[in-house]
């Protein structure tokens, strides 16, 4: 009797664990590696995936406040080591760069002199959060 109760309890606990694991892993997931195209002057990628995939991929956004202006830069490195960079002192572009989050997807385009002309910042549960 005791044995059957223990088995029943164990089965319940196991079932609960499986259900909870299933809930935690549910939902749509997407992976976005870092891509850099210097010919077309654009780059994009997910911060979480760049961190997680273990290659040299990286995305760095920097915002700096100076006495007379603010600047923002975006730097991308893909898994082949290609790098793409853009900068801006346009307050709206700086604001867009500053809105990039660790579970975000960021995409930029730049002019021939490296100035950012497009900054797209997405945040979604579909992309991984940045891990330690």
């Amino acid at each position: 009797m005791h044995t059957s109760m223990r088995m029943a309890t164990g089965a319940l606990v196991l079932g609960a664990m499986l259900v909870s694991t299933g809930v935690a892993t549910a939902g749509r997931k997407e992976y976005r590696d870092v891509t850099v195209n210097v010919t077309e002057r654009k780059a994009s990628g997910s911060l979480g995936d760049a961190r997680r995939n273990g290659t040299i991929q990286s995305i760095t956004i920097s915002i700096r406040g100076m006495a007379n202006y603010m600047s923002g830069t975006a730097a991308f490195t893909d898994e082949d080591g290609h790098r793409g960079h853009c900068f801006t002192t346009d307050p709206k572009m700086v604001e867009a760069l500053a809105s990039v989050r660790s579970d975000g997807l960021v995409s930029v385009e730049w002019t021939s002199n490296g100035e950012c002309i497009v900054v797209d910042a997405y945040t979604s549960s579909r992309w991984s959060t940045k891990e330690q």
């Binding site: 760095t60 920097s62 700096r64 202006y69 600047s71 002192t89």
Partner: protein
Amino acid sequence: MARAAVLLGSAAALAAAFALGTRFGGNAERVVIERDARPAMVTPVTMAVRPSTNATVTADQVRAIVREELATEREDGDTATGDPQVVAAREESAIRARQVVARAIEQRTWSERDRDELLAAMRNLDSSQANAILGELFPALNDGRVTLTYAGAPL
């Protein structure tokens, strides 16, 4: 009868004299008032008028005028910052920043030391100066003329 005519003539003469006196007296008062109302001194107004020999303006003339106006605005802007030493320091910082970028392009590398030096020089610049300097560095980074010696952003 003759006496009445003399009286009437005298009355008419008196009336005429009164009327004339009133008129001249009134005019004298108005003249005085008008003089008092005039301003003591008239401020001279100087207007610059450019002589024009031709009603049409060529594209070159428009460019020259725009350049002249922009130069004047720039001078006014520098003056507006106040202390001439501040303006001189800003120019010196811009020169230093350009030197850092030029050196990196020559050496084909961008190090953390370069980054720190550039950031220090850029602190006092305005956005147009910063754009001009970064507009030299970033194309060199993107086309491979300059390579980062560390991971992360150039600035």
